[in-house]
């Protein structure tokens, strides 16, 4: 099912949880809503589900207005962060709940319910656990039961709120892979919320990066990683190092010197230079058109060796961390020059000054 959100705004008092959000969710895709806490991602998910209502804007399911329908009428499968399994019901009854709740004329027979629940429990690989209570399951098992329960109503869309948030690292990785496989099997349009960029990039077909209630960028994992469109996205996704620079006279300047970099058409003024730590060449001496600094610390060893370098700009020092060159013997206190092999420039904005 296709979902379209248009100019969705939601305020809690003076705080805008969502600010004019436009979003198209394609049929059958697995979409990640990625952002730091307070970015509005969970609110957006709840609005799609019908658990929250926007102050303004439209939500359309396959073109129909969804806002005129309650959560129960939207036929969405919602998996809560803490699973919200019914603690007094067995696993079987939890999964059967949505089928038993149907109005009589739409309700399957008891035999059909049993068969369907059994099938779902097998789908989530928990076939033998039907008689257990939720309290007798591990976190990963509860997560999968919550998923089976949501799938039981044959939802038009599956919504997952921080699906792996409450699990330990190992289970999280396993479950992530498993969820990806499951999605390929059943192909139901799915949206999940996460603050973990690794999770979003690995699992999703497309990633929506949110910050402060606004959509920062929408794209495939490769696009948001390789072509970040704002300083925030560059900073938030993947490792970044940033240096404040000035654009003037068609050149990029740092500490009063012109660097061997192209301003990418940016107009004159303050800007941030963003580099991935592994996309910079370190040479063992200063250069007139390089970023020059002093090695302050060396971390790790072998291929994982990293340098902490202080870049001096007048009285101020900017600390950045880069991968160390393999061959060169570079020690603490050495003057080095940095030449970015790939970089991006973003004009300074008030937003960025705050968010870093």
């Amino acid at each position: 099912m296709k979902i379209a959100l248009h100019e969705v705004t939601k305020r809690f008092g003076a705080f805008a949880a969502l600010d004019n959000v436009d979003l198209d969710i394609h049929s059958g895709e697995l979409l990640a809503l990625l952002g730091p806490s307070g970015s509005g991602k969970t609110t957006l998910l709840r609005i799609i589900a019908g658990l929250d209502w926007p102050d303004q804007g439209e939500v359309r399911f396959d073109g129909e207005d969804a806002l005129s329908r309650s959560v129960g009428e939207r036929n969405v499968g919602f998996v809560f962060q803490n699973y919200a399994l019914f603690r007094h019901m067995t696993v079987f009854e939890n999964v059967a709940f949505g089928l038993r709740a149907r109005p009589r004329r739409l309700r399957p027979s008891e035999a059909e319910i049993r068969a369907r629940v059994k099938q779902l429990l097998e789908l989530v690989q928990l076939g033998p656990l039907g008689k257990r209570l939720p309290a007798q399951l591990s976190g990963g098992q509860r997560q999968r039961i919550a998923l089976a329960r949501a799938l039981a109503i044959e939802p038009r869309i599956l919504l997952l709120d921080e699906p792996f948030g409450a699990l330990d690292a190992k289970v999280r990785k396993e479950l992530r892979r498993w969820l990806r496989q499951l999605h390929e099997e059943i192909h139901v349009t799915s949206v999940f919320v996460t603050h973990d960029q690794e999770e979003a990039l690995e699992l999703a077909d497309r990633v929506v990066v949110l910050a402060k209630g606004r959509v920062q960028q929408i794209g495939t994992p490769a696009e948001v990683y390789e072509q970040p469109q704002s300083a925030f996205v560059h900073h938030f996704i993947g490792e970044s190092l940033s240096v404040p620079v000035t654009i003037a006279a068609g050149g990029v300047h740092f500490a009063g010197r012109k660097l061997d970099l192209d301003p990418h058409g940016l107009s004159d003024g303050g800007a941030s230079l963003f580099i991935r730590p592994y996309e910079v060449t370190v040479v063992p001496e200063s250069g007139s058109d390089l970023l020059n600094g002093i090695v302050k610390r060396v971390h790790g060893f072998g291929p994982a060796r990293r340098l902490e370098i202080a870049l001096r700009e007048g009285e101020r020092e900017h600390f950045i961390e880069v991968s160390a060159p393999r061959q060169e013997a570079i020690g603490i206190g050495q003057h080095v020059g940095l030449r970015p092999r790939a970089y991006r420039l973003f004009a300074s904005t008030a937003d960025q000054a705050q968010g870093g």
Binding site: A49, G50, L51, S70, V71, G72, N75, V76, G77, F78, F80, N82, A84, L85, F86, R87, H88, M89, F97, G98, A101, R102, R149, A150, A152, I153
Partner: protein, 308 residues
């Protein structure tokens, strides 16, 4: 020595307290377990005995002996006299009235307790903190005042008195007044049991049920109610005990019409004032019995509530 000196093998930890604290709930067990007197962390043995002794002596003198005395006095003239006292028409009428009043008030408080707890824990609205305070009000108001409030409202000289008289509606000195006073006094029991639990459980279970297509009623009966059933039962139990035992508020509104508006506690007082001590204690013994049944049920329920 392990860091849990009183750990009892095979003794399940229900409360999650460290076993040291748990063991203190059964004094004899503590004494048996603490053989190594050399443990510097433990109080000296004589001190232990003294503290436990004082606690037991206090409870014996002030609670156990008076309670036993009720039964001793009740049976002082033999079982036949005891049965006769209870089978007296006035006594039977008092028992009947008490049961009716308790049934109505507990029923009302069950419904309103759930409604109040639901409103407080599942919704946000202006005046919510005021409502929470008002729920507790009956605990801090003297029952006599509770009764008096209704007399001032509905009594012959009260604000609504003339109107009620004109329409031949009797509230004060009749069943409705007794029920009103009892409901007022016992209101907090159900709501107070439910509010903390429902607040802790939040609204996610309800949201999950609704998202699965369940109606509001189905969600309430299949999800909300089962989630709080033990706490609810516990609240009802306490509410019932208080409803049957309430004296002050009921005394003000009842009018003490023998055989008509006397509840058991009022009947006990009347008999006592008429020097019918044995009969007074006989009826009182029924209330004491109720208290003990309540206590046993309470202990059993507390474990369930803790599990929730």
């Amino acid at each position: 020595m392990s860091d849990q000196p009183f750990a009892l093998p095979g003794y399940p930890s229900r409360t999650g307290y460290p076993s040291r604290i748990r063991a203190f709930r059964t004094p004899s067990m503590v004494l048996r377990q603490v053989k190594p007197a050399s443990d510097a962390r433990a109080d000296p043995t004589p001190m232990r005995w003294a503290i436990i002794g004082i606690a037991i002596a206090f409870l014996t003198i002030f609670v156990v002996v008076p309670l036993l005395n009720v039964f001793a006095q009740a049976l002082s003239k033999g079982l036949d006299a005891y049965v006769a006292a209870i089978e007296h028409p006035d006594a039977l009428a008092a028992i009947e009235l008490t049961l009716i009043v308790a049934a109505i008030s507990v029923g009302l408080n069950l419904v309103f307790g759930i409604v109040a707890a639901w409103a407080i824990t599942k919704y946000d609205f202006a005046g919510k903190s005021l409502l929470i305070t008002v729920v507790d009000l009956p605990f801090s108001v003297s029952p006599v005042i509770a009764g008096l409030v209704f007399v001032l409202l509905f009594g012959a000289q009260g604000y609504l008195g003339p109107w009620l008289q004109a329409h031949d509606i009797k509230i004060i000195f009749a069943l409705p007044g007794i029920v009103l006073a009892t409901v007022f006094v016992t209101f907090p029991f159900v709501a107070r049991e439910l509010i903390p639990l429902m607040r802790e459980q939040g609204t996610q279970d309800e949201e999950a049920a609704l998202s699965l297509g369940a109606s509001g009623l189905r969600t309430f009966f299949k999800v909300t109610l089962p989630n709080v059933k033990w706490a609810l039962l516990y609240g009802v139990l306490l509410c019932n005990a208080r409803a049957m035992g309430e004296f002050g508020a009921v005394s003000v509104v009842s009018g003490h019409v023998r055989g008509e508006t006397n509840t058991m506690p009022l009947h006990v007082e009347i008999l006592y004032n008429e020097y019918q001590f044995m009969a007074a204690f006989a009826v009182a013994s029924l209330l004491a019995l109720l208290a003990m049944v309540t206590l046993v049920a309470k202990v059993m329920l507390e474990g369930r509530v803790a599990k929730e």
